[in-house]
Amino acid sequence: MTFKEIKTQLKSKTVGIAGCGGLGSNCAVALARVGVGRLILADFDVISLSNLNRQYFFHDQVGLKKAPALAENIRRINPEVSVTSHDIRLTPEGIVPLFRNCDVVVEAFDLADQKQMLIETMLAELPHLPLVAGIGMAGWGMNDSLHCRRIDNLFICGDEVTGTGPECPPLAPRVGIVANMQANTVLEILLKSFNQIA
């Protein structure tokens, strides 16, 4: 496939991004660069200085809301992408109406309980929709431990074991790798005829 053909195919696609932190911001930017037609961003948080070690924001954006700030950064990269940003905390009730018409949803939360809430809600309410989750990417090194696997319509990227801790912070390289693994998985789903498991 040429890049022109890829862009044509992606133009009509919509991807939901649940969380605009380390995973969501980097994944959304990668998808915007290759020309995914529409991105739906959701995050309730504000950019802080400590986020800049991994998240796709700039020093002069500290204090701004993440979802609209990421939408602005994406517009500066590729103005052809239609970006909708939602400054909201996602709940089980909010997830379904926001993402039901997406072609793929990306789980990009930070905290394990939020990841569980999103994955459970998606598996229960929108089980046909491909969901790409990022699990286990704190620390540094250990490239070989990062992988991607599929369970029905759920795709998991990461090492699945390394959680964040005081001695094991999330950092740009590993978070960026997993965010881009997620984006790469999204492309694989969007560019092939997705083999949906009922």
Binding site: F109, A112, I119, E120, L154, E160, G163, T164, V175
Partner: protein, 67 residues
């Protein structure tokens, strides 16, 4: 019984186990889990009452923080 647990064949002396019992036997101590049996989601509130039997395909996904 013999079941498939995270794509591996595993045998247990018991004829059946609830999800809670399985987590205990396997020493799965992670607080945040997503569990599917034969492709169907089992919510946390149903762990006590959902039984796993011979031949079931069980997926236990551990969630850790970071992103």
């Amino acid at each position: 019984m013999t079941i498939t647990l995270n794509n591996n064949c595993e045998s247990f002396a018991e004829e059946k186990l609830t999800v809670s019992q399985l987590l205990k036997v396997k020493n799965f101590t992670f607080r945040m889990l997503v569990i599917k049996i034969n492709g169907h989601l089992v919510r946390k509130s149903a762990y006590e009452n959902t039984e796993i039997r011979e031949g079931d395909d069980v997926m236990v996904l551990h969630l850790v923080s970071g992103g």
